[in-house]
């Protein structure tokens, strides 16, 4: 037998053996060793390891934190209000043995199991709370409770630890959200109406004040002007009186003459006269009787 052939063949055989007895587990993975389908070693960490060729084989699973992003689901809250919840779950494989037993390493199977459990958990919790509680601050509480309860089940049943259940979105179903929109609109409308009315009210107040002030100013002015006129009239009257009082009879005489002149000053004024007044004294005869 030729040595080189033997050595070549021997080399090939050795390589083959090595290949099937050494395997590498990546940092991101965890592995289990199966012998004829039965688990003989589990939780194999990263690095290079040895197994029996052909008889034993190795299954590797993603050891990282994985995300399950499920479809949005409808949940009922207290008060018969529906919400549409879109959640995601952060999970990782903790007990590889249990995981393999439950899912045969099929990730899709795992996510189905996980999402069913989660939805059940969410449903129970949501049904016990009102819409406000669910939407607002108590979410942390809610989520922590759900996570804890879930973990009990998931660890036991399929070796999965749930790190976090988070709600990506809580939305109202269409009919409810229409109501919300309508309410928002009417609230705003009311606010707008109020604002405008307030504006009008203040404006009317300003105008009324202005009008009132104007009336007052004018009234006062009228009063003062009347006073002044009165003063003028009084002084005039006293001036007249003091002058005319010097000879009241003479005043009466001259004033009457003026009155006659003013009264009878046009041809449409007709005087029927008898010639026995003093004026006609000299008409009959030249000498005074």
């Amino acid at each position: 037998m030729s040595k080189s052939i033997i050595s070549l063949v021997a080399l090939l055989v050795v390589i083959a053996l090595l290949a099937s007895s050494l395997y590498v587990v990546d940092e991101r993975q965890v592995a289990i060793k199966l012998q004829f389908g039965e688990i003989v070693e589990s939780d194999i960490g990263p690095g290079i390891h040895f197994k029996m060729p052909f008889v034993q084989n190795v299954r590797k699973f993603d050891q990282r934190i994985l995300t399950l992003d499920s479809r949005p689901e409808r949940f009922l809250t207290v008060g018969k209000k529906f919400v549409i919840v879109d959640s995601f779950i952060k999970w990782r494989i903790e007990d590889v043995k249990a995981y393999y037993k439950a899912t045969a390493g099929n990730r899709w199977q795992a996510t189905t199991l996980l999402s069913n459990s989660t939805n059940k958990g969410l449903r129970d919790e949501f049904a016990a709370r009102s819409l406000t509680e669910v939407v607002s601050g108590e979410r942390d509480e809610l989520m922590r409770e759900i996570t804890e309860k879930l973990n009990v089940i998931t660890l036991r049943d399929f070796g999965v630890r749930v790190l976090d259940v988070r709600v990506k979105g809580i939305d109202l179903p269409e009919d409810l959200s229409k109501n919300v929109y309508r309410r928002m609109s009417t609230e705003r409308e009311r606010e707008a109406r109020e604002t405008r009315s307030q504006g009008k009210e203040i404006a009317e107040g300003i105008k009324a004040d202005a009008d009132r002030e104007r009336t007052v100013i004018e009234a006062n002015a009228y009063r003062d002007s009347e006073k002044i006129r009165g003063e003028g009239d009084a002084i005039a009257a006293s001036t007249y009186a003091s002058a005319f009082n010097k000879n009241p009879e003479f005043y009466s005489f001259t004033r009457s003459l003026q009155a006659y002149k003013d009264s009878f000053n046009g041809k449409e004024d007709v005087l029927l006269l008898k010639p026995d007044s003093d004026f006609f004294r000299y008409m009959k005869e030249a000498t005074q009787n």
């Binding site: 990263p46 607002s136 990506k168 405008r196 004018e218 009257a237 000053n265 005087l271 004026f279």
Partner: protein, 384 residues
């Protein structure tokens, strides 16, 4: 007896057959290989001859040599890795994490070690635009922007599946949580900065818990507005505020016109009153003085002055009027006096012969009074 005794030239085997043909072994694989290798040797010239010794088995050493050299070159090429200034290299040795490479030219063990490059300086961006519920059951539309970098390349590469998608989910969740804890009004007005900061803190917390190695540097709320369906109503609130201001401004403008006008009118009224007063007093003084002057003369010669004044006045009266002198003694005589013929025959005149000052001033008085009456009539219509 041995079957090949010395001196026996015919090599006999135990069965008595003669072996002819000299030094033959089994039909010659050995030979064949040697021939092929020699040929190859010849083709590759001297290069492979380094390892050639004398024996046939070393003929194959030449090929191995070439392969070895190629292998060495290949491995050399594979063991040098360039890490960009922006990156770090996460090294897995046989699957296990061994170290992180800094930027530059680095050596790794080929085949055994695998390098995962991670960009750590690049500022990455995630965007988010969603409608969500607020604490007071209103809906708001938020436009969000997250800036982040990779702080820990090992975690980023090894601990989480799809870390950037994780960030996207977590950002949505963090934002909704924070919005769900705030009322609508602060979100739309002055609470935005607080909201963004709270979201950033929450998001960073999630990132740390999920071991992503991501550092959230900035969370920025670009827009926070009412959903499109109710935008009109929200805009109307703005308009209403503007309207309110407008109403008030108009009213103030009105006030600013009306009051100064009133003051002006008041001033005028006072001025007119003063004018009247001065006028009336002056008129009185004038007339009084005129009378007094006349009185002085009258006192000097009363009878004559009286007679003169009387006759002057009466003659003027008679001159200007229509007269009928009836010189009949009493009795019941009926007389026909056509008065209307007398009146209509003469053109009616209102002659004021006297053009003395006080009559003109009298006329002026009457004009002023008339104007004042008209004014006060119109202002009394305005004053309610």
């Amino acid at each position: 007896m041995a079957w090949n005794e010395p001196g026996n030239q015919n090599g006999k085997d135990p069965w008595g057959n003669n072996n002819r043909g000299g030094n033959q072994g089994p039909p010659d694989l050995d030979q064949a290989i040697k021939q092929v290798l020699d040929k190859l040797n010849g083709m590759f010239g001297g290069g492979g001859n380094k390892d050639n010794g004398g024996s046939s088995s070393q003929g194959s050493g030449g090929v191995f040599g070439i392969v070895a050299i190629l292998l060495i070159l290949f491995l050399a090429w594979k063991s040098v890795y360039t890490i960009d200034e922006q990156q770090r290299g996460v090294v897995l040795q046989l699957g296990k994490y061994s170290r992180t490479l800094e930027p530059g030219l680095r050596i790794v063990i080929p085949l055994i070690e695998k390098v995962i490059p991670v960009n750590v300086t690049n500022v990455r961006n995630a965007e988010l635009k969603e409608e969500m519920l607020t604490q007071d059951e209103n809906v708001v539309e938020i436009d969000l922007n997250v800036q982040y970098t990779v702080r820990d390349p090992v975690s980023f590469a090894l601990r989480v599946e799809e870390p950037e998608r994780s960030l996207q989910h977590a950002a949505e969740s963090a934002l909704r949580h924070e919005v769900g804890s705030t009322d609508l009004n602060p979100i739309m007005t002055d609470g935005r900065a607080v909201l963004a900061e709270n979201t950033r803190l929450r998001l960073q917390d999630y990132m740390d818990r999920y071991e992503t190695g991501i550092n959230v540097s900035v969370v920025n709320i670009k827009e926070a507005r009412a959903p499109a369906a109710v935008q009109a109503a929200f805009d109307d609130v703005q308009k209403a505020n503007l309207d309110k201001e407008r109403f008030i401004n108009e009213a103030e403008a009105y006030a600013n016109t009306v009051i100064p006008e009133a003051r002006g009118k008041a001033q005028r009224m006072l001025e007119e009153a003063n004018a009247y007063k001065d006028q009336v007093i002056a008129k009185a003084q004038g007339e009084a003085e005129r009378f007094e002057k006349l009185l002085v003369e009258y006192d000097k010669a009363p009878k004559v002055t009286r007679e003169r004044l009387y006759l002057d006045a009466i003659s003027e009266v008679y001159a200007n009027s229509s007269k009928v002198l009836v010189d009949v003694e009493g009795g019941n005589n009926m007389m026909y006096i056509p008065l209307d013929k007398i009146v209509s025959a003469q053109p009616s005149t209102q002659t004021r012969n006297e053009s003395e000052d006080y009559d003109i001033s009298d006329l002026t008085d009457r004009v002023i009074n008339e104007i004042r009456n008209r004014n006060s009539r119109s202002s009394s219509r305005e004053v309610r």
